[in-house]
Symmetry: C2
């Protein structure tokens, strides 16, 4: 019998809780025969959702009751203090105790990061964990970090993000030396603030495949495999992009509804526009990773539906199989040794 993996799912997180998490769990199991899932949360609620999907119980799914839930407006400090039996916390505890190989939650990002950091701790040599996610590009996809774990990053932090991002992409995308770019307001060396300039110096003298500064539009041009930035900047870039895409799709709906002939054109264009939407479907990119921790924690979008949440579970599966935290740990150790040797 081959090795089996266990993933803990925070069944109460996100806008839909078990109604999305449970069917997504079945979807993920159908694709990965070597995975078991622990649904953590309110047992009766999970039970009810399970019965809706399947009359027979699946031996690969177990329930672990947790008496509390983390709410979207709970502050990280509140949650750390008073939500020790929340579904989110219990799911993370399972990872710490070696009873799960990863956990996935669609809950409050700040709370999840605070708990994950408190419970799992950061990897040796990593000062700040970061949030990394895949994004669509004109050519395929890229990865961007940090997307909001840190609202104030030093050049050293940016350097750590680059090491972690490069290693994660190398693992999950099977690229030996991913191209790394540092997000800046221009490509010339004189552009940017001191933190970015100093991070560029650190990266240029490292053994990463660092190609230099990139700008906001390079993210979607697919210029590099990994885009590195401060969490404040990354979060704003991501949300602005979502905003533009939403505006375009709203205006398109308006324009295609403006007259009879426009509506007919819209009807005929529908298959094309569906393919287009499919290529940028945010559900295909759902599941951001918290990198830099001693364990795998995947954050799903709070509004994720079944397809999207299943994608987040599959991200966890991929990272477990590729041993991402260990690879990052080894990489950062080698980078630190290299520095000491200089």
């Amino acid at each position: 019998m081959g090795k089996r993996y266990t993933i803990a799912l925070d069944a109460m997180g996100g806008d839909h809780g078990p109604d999305v998490v449970v069917p997504a769990a079945f979807g993920a199991l159908a694709e990965s025969t070597d995975v078991d899932l622990v649904l953590v949360g309110n047992e009766p609620a999970i039970d009810a959702a399970l019965r809706l999907v399947s009359s027979a119980s699946d031996p690969r799914i177990s329930i672990l009751h947790a008496s509390q839930s983390v709410e979207m407006d709970d502050s990280p400090s509140q949650v750390l203090r008073s939500k020790q039996d929340s579904s989110m916390r219990v799911a993370i505890d399972l990872v710490r105790d070696g009873k799960a190989d990863a956990c996935v939650s669609a809950g409050n990002t700040g709370a999840l990061m605070a708990m994950a950091r408190f419970v799992l701790k950061t990897l040796p040599g990593i000062d700040r964990p970061a949030i990394i996610s895949e994004l669509p590009t004109a050519k395929g996809h890229t990865h961007v970090l940090d997307l909001g774990a840190n609202v104030e990053s030093t050049s050293r932090h940016l350097f750590e993000f680059a090491v972690m991002g490069s290693e994660l992409v190398s693992a999950v995308d099977d690229i030996e030396r991913p191209k790394v770019g540092l997000l800046n307001v221009g490509q010339e060396g004189i552009k940017g603030n001191e933190r970015v300039k100093e991070a560029a110096r650190l990266l240029a003298s490292s053994n990463l495949h660092y190609i230099g500064f990139v700008e906001g539009d390079d993210i979607y041009a697919g210029t590099v495999d990994v885009v590195v930035c401060d969490g404040f900047v990354g979060n704003v870039a991501l949300k602005s992009s979502e905003g533009v895409a939403r505006m375009i799709s709203g205006l398109m709906r308006e324009e295609f509804g403006r007259s009879l002939s426009s509506r007919v054109a819209g009807l005929l264009a529908r298959p094309v526009l569906r393919r287009l939407a499919g290529r940028m479907d945010p559900r295909s990119y759902n599941g951001a990773s918290f990198v830099g921790l001693r364990g795998i924690v995947i954050k799903s979008h709070g509004r994720a539906d079944v397809v999207a949440f299943k994608r987040a579970i599959m991200e966890a599966v991929a990272e477990i199989r590729k041993n991402v935290p260990e690879r990052i740990s080894e990489r950062i150790a080698s980078v630190l040794l290299e520095k000491e040797a200089v």
Copy 2:
């Protein structure tokens, strides 16, 4: 005879120089009978471009020769030191000397800001000028600043940006109290870095119509009339947005070209897609203002075509008519007095 206004155009700036600036100048004159234009730059080159557009000379257009041009890769410090007879510098000098009421350039942004600041100086009470531009939203448009003049802003700078942005929008959009939002990574008060939190406190106790934190997607949702942010963040948000829009339009072209039926659908959808493109046409938003200076300086996109450059000239016309620098100066003085009174 009514009052006449003069605008100095840097005829050598941007990718196309006089070939775009000259026809755009004629376009602007056709719309504004009370405006005269000074084309600054290489006289033979401007002359040649003028003759291409019109055989007769227009008394409202004059040429002022300048022996140098600022290149896109010139650094601000180089330009300050050694390009004192550049078209850009001479155009700004005309504003300083009261011979022009505004200047417009499509040249190197960093050089233009450095020169404008050096020659014109900032308004009393303003520590840092900023770059503000109109952007399309789902509902109409909004204004965002800073878009890249400052890569490191204190809370005090963010506050100044808010005052300047609010006053400019009040003037050009005729809104008595524009809604101002501060760009952050979340809407809750606990989110963000210290600079943003402190700026929020300053704004909340001011007499601006401050509505609180907004996120990246609020820019394009049109939640507020003025979005305030650090220049690094604003620049990345703007360029990321441009990148997404470009990716979508590229993928759309690909999908509409995929098969015969898709091409037919594309043909039928063309008028609709043209209307859509028209509503987001970056040319209709060309012309960013440098606010906080003792004079009006408008920066056109370097790749601007005739339509876009004309829009930048019209932005200058609007700001001259509304006396924007004076209004900002009065507003900042009243804000400072108010603070002292507390």
